[in-house]
Symmetry: C2
Subunit: 223 residues, 2 copies
DNA sequence: CCAAAAGTGTTACAAGTACACCCATGA
DNA sequence: TCATGGGTGTACTTGTAACACTTTTGG
């Protein structure tokens, strides 16, 4: 039914995070071709269409502009400061995205909406359009908190990984080193992992390979 | 700037919770006077105006229709299923509200928007308009989770209270009994409370009165 | 003196933290 | 043989859970 002028419009923005091979935490940024922040880097996002769920709008942004499919997405927070978009009142539902192996998914060079796409470190974070710096910081805080009591780390790792790789993901996200023995003990106690029985050979002693029992979101701590 | 037809509009809904004197968890409901759910009970809420922050829209709903001022509010989740509002595409930013002593704030009888207002138990929850039953369940889950690691309980209690009253709030929200000695030990260890040095006299042995050191949101557990 | 809520300590167990050495491999 | 990351156990501390009796008051 018709809604008159002074109302707020809904949009989605996606803060898609990944851990790079060099153990840096990266966020997917896009350089706007037009709009009030033309030429600026920001998060992929757009207005929500009249008949699509929010989750699908977020997934479509990643798929259509970054070529990322099957990315984990969860709703992060809704940002609605009246002045956040100079064009008018836009309420943005922000999503946290997680993906493993950003290096495996080469980004397209750009398209009609974005001049370019790129993975950038979350610290230092370059100046971003709108309130997107706040969104990225919120996304990192959420990921950091949920690492402690969920299996979210599985979304930042490939299907088979070593304990060293798993620990590197935790250390990167948490921003501090962890004791190797205690880390292994704690993770094994959570019973989230399954040994694959295979090893990865490399320049050093071979490491056992593991996978997560399930990639469905699991909360570990009991209330 | 101008946004054409097929876009989503933003609204706010508030799930305001309180613990009644009889130790039931209640939610503030409003009976719609018009709209697609005329006559139904649901959460107070409306479309967001073009120049107001989301938080203020939520606070205004409580203030203008229920007479509640200074209620604690935090953003809960954003519900955006395309079919949630039969009139068209409305994305609803839901807020969790908390207030002490619902009995002290008599509700107005109704107004131009609502036929009536009332505090109703969250279980069993009556049939509600839109997806508001989901919103209420999400609000209860959030409150339940945050009781463990924040000082949110202070928003459900008056400025001075006994340990028995504090424990009753925890037991009501968590839905299970707690050991009195362990509860006191744990709460005191969190150092959130300040003894007032006064006691409350009643039909039994007088109980010491306490207050929270701060009502600002505090997270207790360290990462 | 009775009913009802307030107040208090100890013990057992689980979980978390700190910490050092040997192993297997490729270069 | 060396450099590098993989793999393991123990002692200590901290937190959590179970549990019963005495005190104070009003009626």
């Amino acid at each position: 039914m018709s809604v008159v002028a002074p109302v707020a419009t809904a949009a989605v923005d996606v803060a898609c995070l990944t851990v790079a091979a060099d153990h840096r935490l990266l966020v997917l940024l896009a350089q706007a071709r037009g709009g009030p922040f033309a030429g600026w880097w920001g998060l992929p996002g757009r207005l929500v269409r009249g008949n699509e769920p929010l989750d699908e709008a977020a997934a479509a942004e990643l798929r259509d502009h970054a070529g990322l499919r099957g990315c984990y997405l969860e709703q992060l927070y809704t940002f609605g400061h009246p002045a956040r978009d100079p064009r008018g009142r836009v309420v943005s539902v922000a999503y946290l995205g997680l993906i493993a192996n950003c290096g495996r998914h080469p980004l397209p060079p750009g398209d009609e909406r974005y001049l370019a796409l790129g993975w950038r470190p979350v610290s230092p974070l370059p100046p971003l359009a709108y309130d997107h710096a706040t969104v990225v910081r919120t996304a990192v805080a959420r990921l950091r908190a949920k690492l402690h009591y969920t299996n979210l780390a599985c979304r930042l790792l490939p299907g088979a990984f070593t304990f060293g790789e798993l620990q590197a993901v935790y250390e990167t996200v948490l921003g501090r080193p962890l004791d190797r023995r205690n880390f292994r003990k704690k993770i094994l106690a959570l019973r989230l992992l399954r040994p694959l029985g295979r090893t990865r050979r490399g320049p050093h002693r071979p490491a056992a390979l593991w996978s997560f029992r399930t990639r469905r979101p699991v909360t570990v701590t009991v209330l």
